[in-house]
Structure formats: structure tokens, C-alpha cells
Amino acid sequence: MKMYDVVPGLEFDPERDLEQSPAWFLDATHSVPPWTPMFGWFWVNFCRHGMQWGAEKLSLPTVKGWDWRFMRGGGYLTLLLVKSEEEKRRREVEFRKAILPFIQDYDGLWGGFIKEILGRYDNLKSLDIDTASNIELLDNFEETIDTCRRMWEIHMYMMYGTYTAYILFENMCRDLAGIDDTSPLFHQVVSGFDNKVFQVDKRLWEFSQRAARDQLDRIILDTEPGRIREQLESDGTGKAFMNDFMEFMNEDGWRMQRMSEINLPTWVEDPAPALGMVKQFLQKGGGFNLDEERGKLTEKREQAEKEILAKVPAEQKGWFEQLMRLAQKSGVFSEEHDHYLDLYTHAMMRRSALGLGRRFTKLGAIDDPEDVFFLMPDEIRRAGISPDQFDLRYIVERRKAEWEEWQKEPNPPAILKDGFDLDQAMGVLVQSNDPIALKVVVGSMPQVRPELKADLYGTCGSPGVAEGTARVIMTEDELHLVQEGDILVAASTSPSWTPVFSMIQGVVVDRGASLSHAAIVGREYGIPVVMNVFEGTAKIKSGQRIKVDANLGTVYILDK
């Protein structure tokens, strides 16, 4: 039986690929559980392209981005290192010029990209996929592919540039002012900023206030999120509320329920997750505490800025302050780019693909619109213009069977060449000086200090101390289990987890660095975050009382 490649040219080939690089790491943050074939095709092709494009545009001295392979629904990556010292020197000269736009006009740079990409989305959305001709649908899909490719270029170029600035700022704080990225003072100086993700959360909170005023709060509180819409739409006030809510969704709801997959509805198709957050705000009551919190954080930040600047010699202050501002913007970028880039583009991919899926189903090429996610673009092109002429069911069937197999057995966290171990492999990551590898993948290693008698040791993502009930959450589907006052324990977190930060007292994550989601959001909510504890989700059980001291990087399990 002929089985077509999902990502032609980039399927993992143990023999040749281990020859090229002795270590390939699973992108566990994005490709567990295994991707649908279509999403895998998009990610492996274009995340890979974006990283190499960004690294090349900036002429990063030591690394040419990452190479990616696809295996059983998993994305495997390795670094493309610059091979000779001579080439590194040459790339340094170019890098010095290429990084200047970040220093001289960061706002213009990022603002320009936002404008460009939102323009592309508007263009894609302007096609009515129900009435479009087959050719228009196919064109829309091709433009979506191109948009995804462009999105990743912007994404990785910006990420490499901002993270480099952030790392330099950490280094300079350490060298000039004697504070490192685990120090509370450092965290104070990079928090207290608004961003697009928080603004969306605030709109949701405002809808909860309106629901209370319109006396719709009972309906929302007594109804499962999945049925809130239907319940509300059964009377006049509720209908008006839902009208405005859907208008808001059309503006800011172009995002996926799962960070990196397209087989679940967007908020625009199914606002249940967003309505669930409105419900959570109603349950919690009170003000939008991020605003109050931010006022305090801003004050603290200004104080911290003064304190840090006072430690910097006068003649160094000029560029140091410039660097500090850039590092602060890096934190904001790190958090809000998901909204403008990944989540929005993925929503566009789903919209366009489903348009084709519905047409293919209607004309008999496949059985169910969602089956389109088991096809890759070449196969879609096969039937794109005249779907009535083709039967793609046999491809969908084989792929679906294969995909179901992938779900059964987890992919290995790394594929290593014989004689090469994980420590060596991690060493290569660190030596690359790749800013993304350092700030997101590896992070700093925790110091074990036996005199503190802690159960787990990590690093400080956000300063503070808290004691409360542990809530171990492995996937987004379990987020509703989080209770007011809990301490969240997770492998890592992503932007769709942000709303629960308003309920919890602290966070423990297995992996992460100072630019990971949990650290940035924790700082904005002023709650302690301990990261890189490695075994938090394995050692801690939901319901146990735990104490976290992020300043020391320790976690204590109080009732063992």
C-alpha cells in the first residue's frame, strides 16, 4: 500500500539525519500530542524556514537557525551551527549592522510587522468561504500557506533579535550591577507592562461585568460553558449580549483552543472557552486585579530601574538605559506575539482548510470536512479545482489510521546517535549561544542547596513566597479544575492559560527560562514562579499543600 510522505523532503531518516547531526530533540511543547498531518506539514516546513530566515537576516554569528524533521506527528529539531571561526567573525560584522533596527526603532519595526500581518489576515478573511468558487477557495489556501511562511519569518526574526537584547541585559545587570536573572530586583524591572493578551483578558472581564449588570450572571453561572451561548440567545437581553460578544470574537477571537494544532474550533466558531472565562470571572467576583496589580508593579519597576541605574557608572548609563528599555519590550513581545502571529495564523489555516474540507465533502472527495486535516497541500491541490473528479478517501483513511497509531505511543524526547548521550547533546545546545535555545528550551540550571532541605530546586521566574494547595495540570482541557488560591504545577504553560493566573497564588513548572510564558505572566500578576524543577509534575500530587519560595528557587511539599 502506497503511503505518501506527510512532509516530503523533511521526514526523519535515521541513517542520513543522524549522520548530519548526532542529536535531534522532540519539540514537546508544541508536538505532544502528535500533530495532525496537515498541521505538521505547516509547522515543520515554515517554523524551520522562519528560524533559518531570521538567523540569516540577522546574520547570527554562531548559528544558522534550526533544522527540523517530522516523525510520527512529532517535530524533531537540531541546531545548524556555524562551522568555522572565520565565518563567525564575518557574520559578526554583518550582525552588528543587522541588529541596529531593534536598537534604534523597535516600535516602528514591530508595529510595521503587526500592520503587515494583520493586513494579510484581513485579506484572507475577506473571502466568503461558503459562496466562493473552487478556484477562489484554492487561491485562498495558497495565500494562507504564504501567510504562514511570512508569519514564521517575522516571528523568528523578531524573536532572535529581542532575545539577544534580553540576554545581553541579563548579562549586563550581572556584570555592571551585580544582579542576575534569579534576583527579584531583575524581575521587577521587566514587569508592569500591558500587552495584547492581557487586553483581551480585560475585555472578557468587562463582559462579565456587563453580564452582572444585565442580570445574565445567573444563566452563565448555572450553565456549562458549551451551552452558555445557546442559553443566552434564548432571550432578548442575552441575544444583545451575545451579539456584542461575537463582534468582539470576530475582532480578537481568531485563536485556537490549543496553541499548536488546528483540529479544534477557533473562538470565532465556538466561543465556549471564552464564555468559560467570563464565567470564571463571575465566579471569582471583584475587580480586574491585573490593573490594580499593574499599578503597584509599575511603581516597583520605576523604583527598581532607579536602583539598578544607580549601580551603573555614569558614562555607561546612556546605552544601558537604552538596553533596559529594549529588554522590557522583549518581554512584551515574548508574550503578545502569540496573539498576533501563531494563534491568529493557525486560525486562518483552519478557516481556509475547512472551507476546502466542506467543499470536498459536498462534492464527494472526502466524507467529513474535518478529514481535510489528514491531507497535505499537494493532495489538496490534486482535487482543488474539480473536487468532484477525485476520491481522496483512501488517503484520509490510511493517514487517520496512522495518526491514531501515533497517539498510542509517545515519541522519544530525543533521538541520539549511538555513543552520544543526552548531556553531551544539551552541551551542544548551550554552546550554540542560540538565543531561543537558551531563553526558552534550556534555561539556567537550578542550584541544589541541601541546607535549605527543599523537596525540589528550581530557578526564579518571578519573585515571591506562597503556600497553598497544589493543582497539577497536564493539559489545557484540565484548566477548569483550578481553584481560587491554588498553586499551579505544570510541565509548562502557554497564552491560553493566562486567565487562571488571576486565581492562583503561585506556579511551579518543570521546564522554562526567564522569557517563558509562566515567568512573564507570573511577574505581571505579582505571584511567585519557580521554574526548571524538572520533576514537579512527577513528585507533586494535586491536593497536597506546598510552599514555594521563588526567591530561593525552592519548593516544599508540606504533607507528604
Binding site: F95, R96, K97, N171, R325, N433
Partner: protein, 341 residues
């Protein structure tokens, strides 16, 4: 009836620079942006040219320039030329047909603001930047005085500096494209400037608002230390430094004068927080529209209720020191070292 030569600001936009001069085109652009500017109208370059033609002043200037063409490069002769030409112009009454039209607009303006013989400012509005073309007459009321001041502004196109400049640039002497802005005088409670960038550091995350009691001239001229507010664009937090505002500029019967600020008002901020935030809010919108940091002038009227009393009289690209180049390059060099660890 000749060509149209008087325009309301809502009829104009930034594209009408050549027609009515920069200041008027800018006021038109501001009106189009929804910024409130003091009510008034603009007199176009055509008005100037028609006056020169119909009054005979143009012919006299041409003759004078022709007769003196060999001496005009001497500074002494330029001073003489300025005096002579301005005298020709100012001696000419405005032709009756033009007067009728001007008076009709003035009457309309009086009706619009609900005041008889409303006091206006008459300002020059050059189509090209030309030093010395900055004649301004404040507190002008009544039709006859208005017509006289408009003619005087036209005459101000021939100051010594303007003549020297035109010679230097090889521009025609007797031509001087100049518009005139006629604006209702705002009964200023306080006034000042607003910059959407810190001019000293080039920090674009801040808005600086400076103000004093009375008219804005005291702030613009830098004669007193105004109140200064530095506002963060994103979070709205601000620092306020109160100036010792002992003098302010007020209207007098013939123009303006400097007066003492009453003791109890000297150390009181001239803006409250709501007024400050309204100024900042609009300045951010305008900056976003032009995609450039702006240097703006605002006035708060004491006769109207807030926020209807906030008027804008100017917005233009701000001049500020860009963050230093060598510091950026040094920073780029440091970033390179991140890859050498």
C-alpha cells in the same frame, strides 16, 4: 466675481499647502482629524495676488524692483526696499469687492461663535518656509481693522530678511505666495505646548506637556518656567514639576501684554489630571496619524465647559535629538559579544 479666495478650515486639508500656506493647511488637516481648532477662516494665495493686481501695488513693486535691480544685493538697499515696498502695500486699501467678501466671512464667523465683532488673531501662513514671514496681529476686532491687518500681513512678505532670502535663493522678488489665517482669539485660562517625545533623549514612550496661565506665548518664548508634566504613553503614569509661574501673557486693548500672576495661582498646577489626560489622549492620536512625534500647541478656554474648551493651534513634526548613533553602535557591538560566551 473672481476665484474663491477665502476658505473655512473644514474645507481644507494638508494637501492645500500651496493654496493657503502651511499654517492654514495644517489647521485644515487638524480639523479633518477631529481636533478642535479655534473657529476661523483662511485667505488663500489667490487673495494676495488679486489684491496686488487690483490695488496696483503689484505694478508699483515690479517697477521699484526693476529700477533698483542693480543695488538690491546691498544690505542697506534691502532695508530701504523693505520699507518702500511695505509702504506701497500698506497705503493701498483693500479693493471694495474683496472687502465685501471678507466682511461677509467675518460676519459668518461672528454668527458661528455668537459674538458681535469677535476678536481674532491674524497670522501669516507662508506656502514655503521663509524666515521673517511671521507677522501676527492679535486681538483684532471690527471689519475695518481686520481688513487693515490682513493687508499688513501681506506686506510682511517683504521684510528685509524675506527680501534677502529671496535674493539668495534666486526667487522672484515681487512674487510672495502668502496665505493668511484668521482665527477667533481663545479666552485662554491656560495654554502651552505638548511634545510626544522627550526632546532631550529622544524617548518616544513619553509625552511632555508644558503650560502656564494665560496665553501660550509665555511658554513658547521660554520666558517663564512653566509647569511640566511627563506622561508615560502606555500606562499614563506621570511626573509633574511645578514652575514658578510669576508672569503670564494676557490680551490688552491693542494686542497682548505681560501681567503678574496672582500670588495664590503661582504654585498651583495650571492643569488638572482630567485636562492633562485629554491633551495626552489627543496628542497620541495625532502622533499615530502622522506616524511621527509631534510638537503641538494647546489652549484651554475659560468660557466653555471641559472638554469643549480644549483648542489646538498648531501641530508639526517635533525636533528632538535622536538616540545617539554611536551609543546604538556600541550596544550592537555588545550584543555581538553575546555570541562569544
Amino acid at each position: 466675481m473672481g476665484r474663491k479666495w477665502i476658505y473655512w478650515y473644514e474645507e481644507l486639508s494638508g494637501a492645500h499647502n500651496d493654496l493657503v500656506g502651511k499654517k492654514c493647511a495644517n489647521l485644515g488637516e487638524m480639523t479633518a482629524l477631529g481636533m478642535k481648532v479655534p473657529p476661523g477662516f483662511a485667505i488663500s494665495v489667490d487673495g494676495y495676488e488679486r489684491f496686488m493686481e487690483e490695488s496696483g501695488a503689484g505694478e508699483e513693486i515690479r517697477r521699484y524692483v526693476h529700477d533698483n535691480r542693480n543695488h538690491l544685493n546691498q544690505v542697506g538697499k534691502q532695508v530701504e526696499a523693505s520699507r518702500a515696498i511695505r509702504a506701497y502695500i500698506e497705503a493701498k486699501p483693500m479693493p471694495e469687492a474683496m472687502k465685501t467678501e471678507l466682511y461677509r466671512h467675518y460676519a459668518d464667523l461672528c454668527r458661528r461663535v455668537g459674538t458681535d465683532e469677535v476678536s481674532v488673531a491674524v497670522r501669516s501662513s507662508g506656502a514655503v518656509s521663509m524666515p521673517g514671514q511671521m507677522e501676527t496681529y492679535l486681538n483684532v476686532s471690527g471689519t475695518d481693522r481686520l481688513a487693515r491687518k490682513v493687508v499688513q500681513v501681506w506686506g510682511s512678505a517683504f521684510t528685509t530678511r524675506a527680501i534677502a532670502y529671496r535674493l539668495e535663493k534666486g526667487m522672484q522678488m515681487e512674487k510672495a505666495p502668502i496665505g493668511v489665517a484668521v482665527l477667533k482669539m481663545v479666552n485662554a485660562k491656560c495654554a502651552g505646548v505638548c511634545l510626544t517625545v522627550l526632546p532631550t533623549t529622544g524617548d518616544t514612550s513619553k509625552v511632555v506637556v508644558e503650560g502656564n496661565w494665560g496665553l501660550g506665548e509665555s511658554v513658547v518664548s521660554g520666558e517663564i518656567t512653566p509647569d511640566q508634566f511627563i506622561v508615560d504613553k502606555e500606562i499614563g503614569a506621570y511626573e509633574c514639576t511645578l514652575g514658578e509661574k510669576n508672569k503670564m501673557v494676557c490680551y490688552s486693548s491693542t494686542g497682548t501684554c505681560v501681567a503678574d500672576v496672582p500670588d495664590e495661582m503661582r504654585c498651583k498646577p495650571c492643569l488638572d489630571e482630567t485636562e492633562l489626560y485629554e491633551i495626552v489622549r489627543i496628542s497620541k492620536d495625532v502622533e499615530a496619524h502622522f506616524e511621527l512625534p509631534q510638537d503641538m500647541e494647546w489652549v484651554l478656554d475659560c468660557d466653555l465647559p471641559f472638554p469643549d474648551n480644549l483648542f489646538w493651534v498648531q501641530t508639526r513634526p517635533a525636533k528632538y535629538s535622536k538616540p545617539k548613533h554611536n551609543e546604538s553602535e556600541y550596544l550592537a557591538e555588545l550584543m555581538t559579544r553575546v555570541f562569544r560566551m
